[in-house]
């Protein structure tokens, strides 16, 4: 469990690249700067690329939880 309080949640384990980032990005667009999006994603390509793409777009990864079942939960704060 993370101590962070999410504003919104999106599960992207049901899509594959490049839809993983697209789905997460659309969810992020609903948020205001400073709010936190919680994203559930698969290990492998999504955990490598989705947080990195958010970084490139000016958002900030705060915490990563390994769910131990081949998925990760990532908390991302929306940038300005």
């Amino acid at each position: 469990m993370s101590n962070l309080k999410r504003t919104s949640f999106v599960d992207i384990t049901d899509v594959v690249c490049p839809m993983t980032f697209v789905k997460a990005k659309i969810a992020m667009e609903e948020l205001e700067a400073g709010e936190i999006l919680e994203i559930k994603m698969n290990e492998g390509e999504p955990i490598l690329n989705v947080p990195r793409s958010f970084k490139e777009e000016g958002h900030k990864v705060l915490d990563v939880i390994n769910n131990g079942d081949g998925t990760f939960t990532v908390f991302v704060e929306k940038g300005e």
Partner: protein
Amino acid sequence: MANVDYKELKKGGFMKQVDKDRFSLRLRIVGGQIKSEQLAKINEIAQKYGAGYVHMTARQGIEIPFIKLQDIEVVKEELAKAGLQPGACGPRVRTITACQGSAICPSGLINTTELAKEFDERYYARELPHKFKIGITGCRNNCLKAEENDIGVKGGMMPTWMEHKCIYCGLCEAVCPVKVIQVKKQERQLFFNEKNCIYCGKCVKVCPTSAWEGKSGFVVYFGGLFGNKISIGKQLFPIIFSKEVLHKIIEETLMFFEERGKAGERFGTTLDRVGWDLLKNRLMELLESEEEFS
């Protein structure tokens, strides 16, 4: 058409076809890139002197088939107008291949395009006992298959952890393919087993706070073959960081092959015959004198 020196033509990139007095013209391409105006010239030549198509070779080259013997000189002149040249065949250093590297690809760790140009200027078409292939790939994803080449260069990255920037989010641990990073969030501690790091640079690329800093370098493979005989290129020493040292390594390796190789024998086969340690010791000596491993 008597007295045709096929060997000389082949040396200059004109490959004899099955069709009488027709040649497939190989072009000099560097790192898989060509300017659009050069492509237009190739189009023009293929239509006027060829059969209206080009062949893309297995190693990022372009060939224009069906060039007539009597047109060879005029085709060369046409190519020169666009800054193009026939490529190299036979026992020499062949096309320098490269992926798009760090200039374009988000995964890239080294500037492969720039390196390919330097390799082309320094080593292209150099005469050796047999064909010699050099390829450059930007990272461990290995899109350019470094180990298939006589010399393969692969981009790598040595990470250093900056404690004061770390927020202990655990993303680096999640992406590390060899599990050498361990983050203890509650204790605000991070353990990095540098000895087993494979220099993939993923921790550096993902870190949200740039708490991992990376130093780009080159992992070099020797003696790869992927033709009649198949063998995977071998790494003989750890990652190196200086481009000038990389050039010295390549010069030394080409010299070694020239001295030790038999005509018609690929580099990997030479190494099997004379012993890999002979090359390894010579390169290690060079690296130590360069203080690359100090």
